[in-house]
Every structure is written in C-alpha cells, then in structure tokens.
Amino acid sequence: MEGWDTSTKSTLTQIPLLSAKAGPRDGASWTQRLKEEYKSLIAYTQMNKSNDNDWFHISAANPEGTRWTGKCWYVHNLLKYEFDLQFDIPVTYPSTAPELELPQLDGKTQKMYRGGKICLTVHFKPLWAKNCPRFGIAHALCLGLAPWLAAEVPILVDSGMIKHKDDSSSSAES
C-alpha cells in the first residue's frame, strides 16, 4: 500500500470492507451491495466527523444508486474551498472503480481527464483490483479524491486558478 501517506492508510484500514460482488445490473445482489456501500460510507463519515475531518457530502442521485452527486471541500490557509462532486457507478463495478468527477475544476489542472475526471495515482488501480470486491465508494473517496485534493488544491490556489468564494465575491463586488 505504498504511495499514500500514513494518515490515509490508517483511515482506509478503519473503513469497513464489503463482501457482495455485484454490479448495478445484478438486481437484488446490487441492492445488497448498495447496502454495504451505505454502511461503509456511514462508518467513514462518522469517522471523519469524530476526527474533525469531514470533507465531503454525497447522496445517491437516482433510486438505483448508480449515480451519486454531492460536494467536497478542502481547507487551505484557513480558507475552505468547496467543489461539486459527481460520479457514476460503472456497469463493471466493482471490478472497475468509479470515475470521480470535479466538473468545476475541468480544464484548470493537468491532473484531470476531460469532463473533470480526476487522475488517480498509478498505485490506485492495482490496489483496487487486488481488493475487489472488498473496496467500495468510501474506499474510492478515501484513496482517490482525498489525496488528490490535498495535492492539487494548494497548487491551484497558489497559481490563482481558483479563488475563494469570499474573495471572488468581494472582488466581484469591488
């Protein structure tokens, strides 16, 4: 599990693992899978909250639970930068990881595919494949998005690509 910082790793190990191997097209077993996803997400969220490290808010956008939308944020220099977050559960899930999208940052950084899909580290894919089907959405967020935000947001802020909403608003006002 090299490639991630120790806090990420310790957090990851505390997220409950999943057991049902089912994709969105598998009907009842997908429902079962979805339940496990929720449980895992709940545990992860509670964990984040108790550590004063809450950094996202998501919810299923359709009843099947194949599309998720929400927000994620990062605090840099005592300023909170908040971005929209959305992703679909691929058909080959859970063998394929979901592609996390930050549409607001599309085109602002090189570490991103077209459409705002974030580029994950080379280590992510093998680790995910190795842990299929035990890893779920929570794991994908923890392993993929959190490090990405921590790495990219300070650069983006410093380069002035993104501006805090207060600043932008104040500048807009001024």
Partner: protein, 801 residues
C-alpha cells in the same frame, strides 16, 4: 425500494448532517497554556510528563503517588516515574513531600514503604514462623529485598505482638522451638560427665535437629546453643565450670575427680602425676600442691610427708647399723629412681648423714652408710695389696692386653651381628645386649637396638661404657701405672666380699655395685699411688746403690775389655786367628759385662716401678741369649732397642760392634763408660802384669800355665794384654819368636808342643781308663812339670829385669 436501503440512506444522510466535533491541535493547546501562564491565570508550578504531551499539577502527582502507595504499601520511586510518566526529579521531590507529610510512610533506599506494609509483612512472617519454627532474618531480608538491619528494627517493634517469637542472633524462633532446643541443650549438658568441648556438643545437637526437621530444617547456629546454655548456667540448671567459653567441666566430673584423687592419696599417701593426667588434670603438680599444701612434689609422683618419715626411719636404721639400703625397694613400684633420689634428699636423716659424712648416696636410690663403705674399702685395700704383691708387672700387663684383645674381638663380632641384625630383630637385640656388656671401644653405638633395652639395662650399659672408657684410659696410662685395678676387678671383689647384694634377690647387683666401685676406685687408686710412692722412695736408695755398684763393676770390666781389645790389633793380619780371638773375648769378657748391665738395669727398672724387688745377693746371674732377649724386652722404649742390639753384637764376631752397642746402651741408661787413656792404661797394665806374675808364680797346673805365661810374655814384650784361647796359643807363641832369645823361645815352643800333645792325649783318653795313654799322660805331665820352672823363670826373670 428496499426499506432497509432507505433506512441506510437516511442514516447516511443523518450522519453527514451531524455536526463534526471540533479539535484543537497540540500546538494550539500549548500556546493556550503558555498564554494562560503569561496572564497568571495559572499561578502554580505546572509539570509535564516525559512524553511532553501532558501537563500535570503537583497536587495531582502527589495524589497519584499516594494512590500508588496505598495500592501496595510499598513502591519504588523509580517505578513511580514510570507509572506517573513524570520526570524522576519531580517524582522524588514530591515523594519526599508525601513522606514528610505522612508519619506512616518512610523512604528507604529509593522506596516508599508504609507502616501497614510492615504490618502485613510481619503477619506473613509470623505465619511462616509458626509454620517453620524458625526463620533467618537474612533470609527474610533477601526475600523482601531490604537490609536485614531494617527488618530487625521493624521486627523488634512487632515482636511479641504481631510476631510471636524470639529474635536470637539473626534468627527468629518461636517460643516453643526455643523451649525445645533449650531442653535439648539442658539434656545434653546434664548428660555430660567428663570435660567436653562444647562446640563439639553443639555440632552433634545440630545434626540431631537436622535429622528431626528433615530436609526442610534450617541449620541452627551454635551461638544459639551457646546463649541458651549460658542462660541455663546462669539460672543454675547446669552445674559445672566453663573455661574459655567452650571447655565445660561438669561439677559431677570435678567431684569424681577429686574424690578419686583423695581416696588414692589418703590410702597410698602418694599419687603419680600420670594418674592425674589420666583423670584429666593437665597440671597435676599445681593441682596437688594447692590441694595438699603439706605434700611434696617429686619428678613423677606426689607424696605425703608420712612417706618421707617412713623412709627416714629406714635410712636412719641403715646408717646406724652400718648397712645399706635401696630406697626403691621400700617405695611403691611406681616410683622412678629420680623420685627416689628426690625423696631421699627430703629425708632429714639422709641430710644429716650426708652432712656428717655418714652416708653415701649412689644411683639415685641407694644409700650406703659410711661404715659399710669403709668396711668394704678396707677389705678392698687389703685385697689390693695382696693383688699388687702377687702380680708382677709383666703378668699384669699381659693380662690387660689379653683382656683388651678379647673385648675387641667381641666388639667386632657384635658389630657384625648388629649389621645383619636389622632383619633379625631378636638377634639384634641380643647383640645389643652383648654390645652393652662389652661396650665397643670405638665410637660405634647401636642406637637402634639400644632403644629396645629396658631402662635399667640402659643405665647399666652407660655405667659399663664409663668403666670401659676408664680402662681404656688406664691402658693409655699403662706406661706410668702398670697395674691400676680395673673396675671390673673392683666390682668382682665387692661381689665376693659382700654376697648379700645377690642374696637380696636383686636382678642386677652390678647396677649398684658398679657405681659403688666407681666411687671407691679413685680412693683405691690414690691409695695405690701413695703406696707406690712410698715404695719408690724406699727403692730410691737401693737404686742409687745399685747404679753405683753397676757403674763400678762396669768401669772395671769395661776397661779390661778395652785393654784386651787393643791386644787384638796384633792379629789383625791373620784372619782366622783374629776371628778366634774376637769370639773368645766376646764369650769370656763381654758376656759377663752385658749380663751385669742387663741384670742391674732390670733390677733398677723394677725398683723404679715400685715393685719390691728384693735384692738377690747371689751375685749377677748369667743369662743365656733367650733370657737376655726377654729381659731386654721389658726395658722401656729405646733402651729396649739398644739392649737388643747389644745382644745381637754379643752373638756376632766383632768386638768393636759390641763395644759401640754397649756404649750406646750405657749412655741410654745414664751410665758413664770410661775411655782408656794412656795413664790409666799403664796403671792397669801394671796391675794386670803384677796379677799375672803372681798367678804364674803360684800356678801349678802345667796346662793352665801356658796361656798365662804367653799373656805375660806379651805384656812384657808388647805391653799388651792378650786374652787368647787355647787354639790361638800356638800362633801367639810363634809371634813371639823374633822377640825372644832363642833359648827362651825354645823352652816356650817345647812347652807348648808338650802341652798340645798332653791335651790331645787327654782328649783321646776319655774312653777307657786302663789304657797305656794314662801312663803317657802322666809322663808328659811330669815332663811338663819339669819344664814349668824353666818357663816360669823365663817369665819371672824378664819381669824382674
């Protein structure tokens, strides 16, 4: 849609809606605390833990320390730093504060210990003590990991309350146990009846206890026994005396000892030290002296004065009766000779006897009254005189030498024996006995076998050796004192004189007689010397006279001899005649001279040695050569040699040799031989001539006349004194031929031939008497007789002319 899924959705939503807890970073907190301190909101010392992540107030620390102490009752300060996580420095400081505030706590060697802990420990100890009866404090200290002194002080305050037992030299004991061991000690000590080293006793008791307790039993220290013992002794439960802390002498033993000694001493009025030593008294003399102040300590025995009284009486009796006494025979057998001698010296009668010269103490235990000794001595003296008179000096010396030879022979034999005797011990012993009897006159002493001998024998051998040494010395002095009585001789004489020595049934009368003889011997020798001196002075006169006589006789004959010798010069050219003449002179003149000398010197010798040589007035005896040699050998040293050479010369053919030998001998014996000088020669010749003339004139025998006439003729013509044997006469006559007138010579030759024929006839006529020769002899004789006046006239006339 699934209910559960919805529910989960809701829950997730709720979880996401929940407010997240707010966290301050450490750094913020530290800053906050510093801020508080700066603002003096926190106005006390704030400690922090080693990890640096916690602050702690001193009160809290003290509380924690107290809590820890309460938990176990005993806690190490170092452990406290681990438990509280605060630096040791602060913990120590606070621990000291805690201890000083609470009197029930103590800080010992980095540990805080509460009284309650000690109480617990004491209870534990008590439990164990009741179980095991005894515990070593050192063991406890090791278990609790504290100093034994601390434990002792802790136990001291709790003995009798929490701990029911007794602390004795680093050991804890229960009273029951102490009682039991003390009972053992008492039993063992009371059981002892002889003096004992207590440490040995404790050893056995220890073993006993160990056996009783089995393997679990702990070794009891002997000091514990000792203290119990001392306690019992103080209480009077044990009777006895203790020396040097460990030597225990029970009263019962001391009492028995005293009783035993008392009873023996009162019964026998003496006691041997060795007996006391057997009873365990190491210094018997001091013991007895302190106990019986009037007793007398001797070498090996302690006696009551009554013993001395008894001996005293016996001695007195012996002295008065003029007898002798062996104190050993009166004393108990356990007395040694040394004791006897000591006790004798204690006797008043002995002292007075010795002072008054009435008694003689010999060989430690024998006392002779002076009367007795004097009696023997007188008798011995008489014996001595008799012995001296009877034994000639030659005899004695030969006896002595014989004796010595014998002794030597025996010694050699015994030495051989002892050399081989190592294998055969018995034989060796016998040999040693022999050796002691005939003690070797060389230094060899068979020490090994000597050990085997009894003391008495030893004594004897020493005495004998002394005596032997004495005889040896005597032998050395033999030249001076020819016959000093030997000790053996005296001993033998005393034995003969006083037979009661043997009658009294003594195993070894020699043992006492010898010293007695030794005692008397000097006196006897003195006596003998004096006697000899007396004889000597008496003899001196005789000797002088003898020597004077000798000198006179010798002078005379020696001068004659010289005279005759001169005459011999005439015949030097004629060998055979000269030899004949020499021999004749030696036989006729020299032999008497030598004999006279020898005889007189012998006499002189005897006189000088103090022998009563009665002078025989029968005149000088004649000796044959063998006798001469014997006499010559008795002469001392060089004189003897000279005398022998004289004898040899006498046997020879040369008068000169004899003369020189004789002269030398005379010189050696201190006599003077006068040399012939002219004047003396003349007077001598004159007297000789006169003598011869008268002889010739009165001579009637025709045969004897001839030599005298010839001599006279020689004297007249040559002024030489010739002593010629018959055979030499004819030659002597022929020599006169040219000196005499023809007529005279004719008379002489006629007479001579007539004499020769007569003599030949005489020698032939010895066979039968009724022979015609007798007639012829008588005619011849007549013829000679007829011729005699002519011959006489021949001589006498010349002498007158």
């Amino acid at each position: 849609m699934d209910e559960e899924l919805l529910e989960l959705q809701r829950q997730f939503e709720f979880a996401q809606q929940a407010k997240s807890s707010i966290r301050l970073s450490e750094r913020n907190v530290v800053e906050l605390v510093q801020k508080l301190k700066e603002l003096h909101i926190i106005d006390f010392d704030l400690l922090h833990t080693i990890s640096g992540k916690e602050y702690i107030t001193p009160e809290q620390l003290r509380q924690e320390i107290a809590a820890e102490i309460n938990k176990l009752g005993r806690v190490s300060v170092i452990d406290l730093t681990d438990i509280t996580g605060v630096d040791l420095y602060h913990v120590e400081k606070q621990a000291q504060l805690v201890v000083s505030n609470d009197p029930g706590l103590m800080l010992v060697q980095g540990e805080i210990i509460s009284q309650s802990y000690w109480d617990n420990v004491a209870e534990d100890i008590n439990d164990r003590l009741q179980e095991c009866n005894q515990i070593a404090v050192a063991e406890l200290a090791a278990q609790l990991n504290v100093g034994s002194e601390l434990i002792t002080s802790m136990l001291d305050s709790r003995l009798g309350t929490l701990v029911k037992g007794r602390l004795e030299s680093g050991q804890l004991y229960t009273p029951a146990y102490v009682a039991r061991v003390s009972a053992m000690v008492r039993g063992a000590s009371r059981g002892i009846t002889v003096p004992t080293n207590l440490s040995a006793l404790w050893g056995t008791l220890q073993q006993l206890l160990q056996e009783m307790n089995g393997v679990s039993g702990v070794a009891v220290e002997s000091t514990f026994f000792q203290s119990l013992f001392n306690g019992l002794l103080k209480e009077g439960e044990l009777l006895g005396s203790l020396r040097a802390g460990v030597h225990w002498t029970p009263t019962v033993f001391a009492a028995a000892q005293k009783e035993c000694i008392d009873s023996f001493f009162s019964q026998n009025s003496h006691i041997i030290y060795s007996a006391l030593q057997k009873l365990g008294i190491s210094q018997p003399v001091q013991f007895l002296q302190s106990r019986y102040p009037d007793g007398i300590p001797l070498t090996t025995v302690f006696v009551h004065p009554s013993m001395i009284d008894m001996l005293d009486e016996a001695v007195e009796d012996a002295v008065e009766r003029g007898s002798w006494i062996d104190s050993l025979s009166l004393l108990p057998t356990s007395f040694t000779p040394q004791d006897a001698s000591k006790i004798l010296l204690q006797c008043s009668s002995v002292q007075s006897a010795q002072k008054g010269n009435q008694g003689l103490l010999l060989v430690d235990s024998y006392l002779f009254s002076s009367g007795f000794v004097k009696d023997i001595y007188d008798r011995l003296e008489k014996e001595m005189v008799a012995f001296n008179l009877s034994g000639s000096s030659i005899l004695t010396s030969s006896e002595e030498s014989h004796l010595v030879k014998e002794t030597r022979g025996r010694t050699n034999r015994t030495i051989e024996l002892t050399e081989t005797g190592n294998e055969k011990k018995k034989k060796g012993k016998a040999a040693a006995m022999k050796a002691s009897e005939s003690l070797p006159d060389d230094e060899y002493i068979p020490t090994k076998s000597k050990k085997n001998q009894k003391k008495g024998k030893d004594l004897l051998s020493v005495v004998v050796s002394d005596s032997k040494a004495g005889t040896r010395k005597d032998l050395a002095n033999m030249q001076e004192n020819l016959n000093v009585p030997t000790e053996e001789w005296i001993t033998q004489k005393i034995m003969d004189l006083v037979p009661d020595f043997e009658e009294q049934g003594m195993d070894n009368p020699e043992a006492i007689i010898r010293p007695l003889a030794n005692n008397m011997r000097p006196k006897l020798i003195n006596f003998l010397k004096e006697r000899r001196k007396a004889v000597f002075t008496e003899n001196a006169e005789n000797m002088k006279r003898l020597l004077d006589n000798l000198q006179k006789k010798l002078d005379e004959s020696f001068l004659n001899m010289q005279l005759y010798e001169k005459a011999l010069d005439f015949f030097d050219d004629d060998q055979s005649t000269s030899a004949v003449l020499h021999r004749h002179l030696l036989r006729t003149t020299a032999a008497p001279i030598a004999d006279t000398l020898f005889y007189n010197l012998d006499m002189h010798n005897k006189l000088r040695n103090g022998i009563d040589a009665e002078e025989s007035h029968s005149g000088p005896a004649t000796f044959n050569p063998a006798e001469r040699t014997a006499v010559a050998k008795t002469f001392p040293g060089s004189l003897s040699k000279k005398a022998l050479s004289v004898i040899e010369a006498l046997e020879g053919k040369h008068v000169e040799a004899f003369m020189t030998a004789l002269r030398e001998m005379a010189e050696e014996s201190g006599l003077l031989l006068k040399k012939l000088d002219k004047k003396l020669e003349r007077t001598l010749l004159h007297s000789y001539r006169k003598d011869l003339t008268t002889q010739v004139s009165v001579e009637t025998d025709p045969v004897a006349l001839l030599p005298k006439v010839v001599s006279l003729l020689y004297l007249q013509i040559h002024n030489k004194a010739l002593q010629a044997p018959g055979r030499a006469i004819s030659i002597a006559v022929s020599r006169l031929k040219d000196k005499l007138e023809d007529s005279a010579y004719k008379i002489l030759t006629d007479y001579q031939s007539a004499t020769v024929t007569l003599l030949s006839l005489l020698s032939a006529a010895t066979g039968d008497e009724e022979d015609c020769t007798s007639d012829r002899i008588s005619t011849k004789r007549e013829m000679l007789e007829n011729l005699m006046p002519a011959l006489k006239g021949l001589v006498l006339s010349t002498s007158q002319s």
